[in-house]
Amino acid sequence: MRKQVPLLLTFCAGMIPIVALFVPERHVSTVSTTLDSWLIIVAGFALLLGVVNVVQMNTNKIRRKTSGWPYAVVLLAGLAIMGTFGFAGAFGGFGGIATRLDGTSTPFDWLYQNAFLPLQGTMFALLAFFMASASYRAFRARNVEATILLIAALIVMFGRIPFGEMVTKWFPLTTEWIMAKPNMAAQRGIMIGAGLGAASMALRVIVGIERSYLGLGKGE
C-alpha cells in the first residue's frame, strides 16, 4: 500500500492535465482545473515545508554550535519577526501586510522597506563588483571558442550602451543580430533539450519507473 497508493495518485495527477490538453471535453477539463486549484493549495504547503526545513536546519546548527551559527540565529530571528507580522497581517492584524489606506506603513511593510529591500538590493548589487573582478582575471582569449565568446560579449556589452552607438551604429545592430539569431538558436537548442529531458522524466514518474521521490528504502 505504501507504494501502490502514491504511484496511483501520481499516475492520475500526471495523466489528467495531459488528457485535458488533448480532449476538449467539459468533464475532463473540469477535473483538470479542479486539480489546478488543489495544486495552488499544495504549493502553499510546499512553502510551509520550506519554512519547517529552514527552522530544523538552523536550530540544529545553533544546537551544535557549528561554524557560522550566529548567522543562523539572525536568520531565525528574521524569519520569526517577518513571519509573525506577515501571518498576523494576512488575517487583518496590524493593518495588513501592504500599506494602509491612508498611505502609512504596516509593520510588515516597514520591515520590508527598511530591512528586506536594502539587504536584497545589496546582495544583488555586489554581483557587479565580483563580475568586474572575475572578468578581468578569467575572461581570456585562450582558444578559438573563448575568443568567439569574448568578441561576442564585448560587442554585446558595447552595443548595449550609448557609447557603442556613438562609435558606430553597427554596434547596436550587431548586438541585436547576435541576440536574435545565434543566441536565439542556442537558446532554442537548450530549451528543446531541457524540454525533452523534462518530458521524459515526467513520463518516468507518471508510469512509475522513477520512484526515488517516494523515499522508500532499497528493495521496497
Binding site: 482545473t33 563580475m131 578581468y136 564585448l154
Partner: protein
Amino acid sequence: MNLERIMQIDRRIVYLFVAAGTILPIVFVIGLPVSITPPVQMAFDRMEDLDPGDVIMVSFDYGPSSAPENAPMADAALRHCFSKGIRVIVIALYPLGGLSEAVNELNKVVAEFPDLEYGVDYVNLGYKDGAQAAMRKMNENIHEVFPTDVRGTPISEIPLMREVRTYADLELCFSLATGIIGEWWANLVNAQFGLPVIVGPTAVSAPKYYAYLEAKQMAGLLGGLKGASEYERLVLDKYPDLERVYATPGLYTATKGMDVQSIVHLIMIAFILFGNVVYFTGKRRPRKAA
C-alpha cells in the same frame, strides 16, 4: 614592468573603479541618449494598438533584488496604460516581495494620475502562490484564484472585475519578471491559452526570451534596464505630458540608471581588454632560462 604583478592586481582596485563608476553618474547625471531596439518597439506598438477602456493584466513577478531593473519597466508600463486610458489588473506571482513591489509601484504611479478610481480604472488582486497552477486556473476563472483583492474586498464587488472572468476578457499580459515566471507566461499562458504576452525580464535572463519572441510567443520584450530606458523614451515621446513626472527631482528612472550601467560597462570592457593585452604580451615575451 612586471606583468605578473599587473595580472595579480588587488581586486579592491577593481572594486574602487566600479564604485566610482557607479557613484559618480548618480551624483552628476549625464543623460546619455537612448536608442530604440526592435523588441521594445514591438512591445510599445502592441500596447499602442489597444483602445482606451481595454483591460490588461500587469504581473509583478520580481522582488527587491531586481527592482532597479524591473521597477522602472513597471512604472513606464503603468504610466503608459493610465495615459492611454487602459484599465489595469495588477497581480503578483513572485513570493519574495512581488506583492510589496506591486503595492509600491502602483501607489507611486497612481498618485501621478489623480483622476483614477480604484476598482474602476485599476485593481490590485495581490499575491497568489503556485505560479504555474494559478496561471492555468486563471484561464478558467480568475475570480476563483483571487477571491478578494489586496484590501480584502470580495472580487464580485469590484466593478472592473465584474467584466473580467478569464484570459478571454483581457487584451494582454505584461509580466515584469525575474527568474522563470516570465517564461511561463510565454510558454504556458500564450502557447496554451493565446493571451498576448509582453515580458520585461532582467538583463541576465533576457537572452532566453529571444527564442519566444522570434517564435511569436511574445508580443514584445524589454530586456533589463536598457529595455526599460527604451520604453521610457517611447512613452515620453508619445505622451509629452509625462515629462512633468519624469522631471521630478530624486525620481529613479531607467534612463538615469543607464548612465550608471553604461559607465560600469565601459570600465568592465576596459578591464577585460587590458587583461587580455597583458595576457598576450606575457605570452609573446620569451621566457628567461631557468
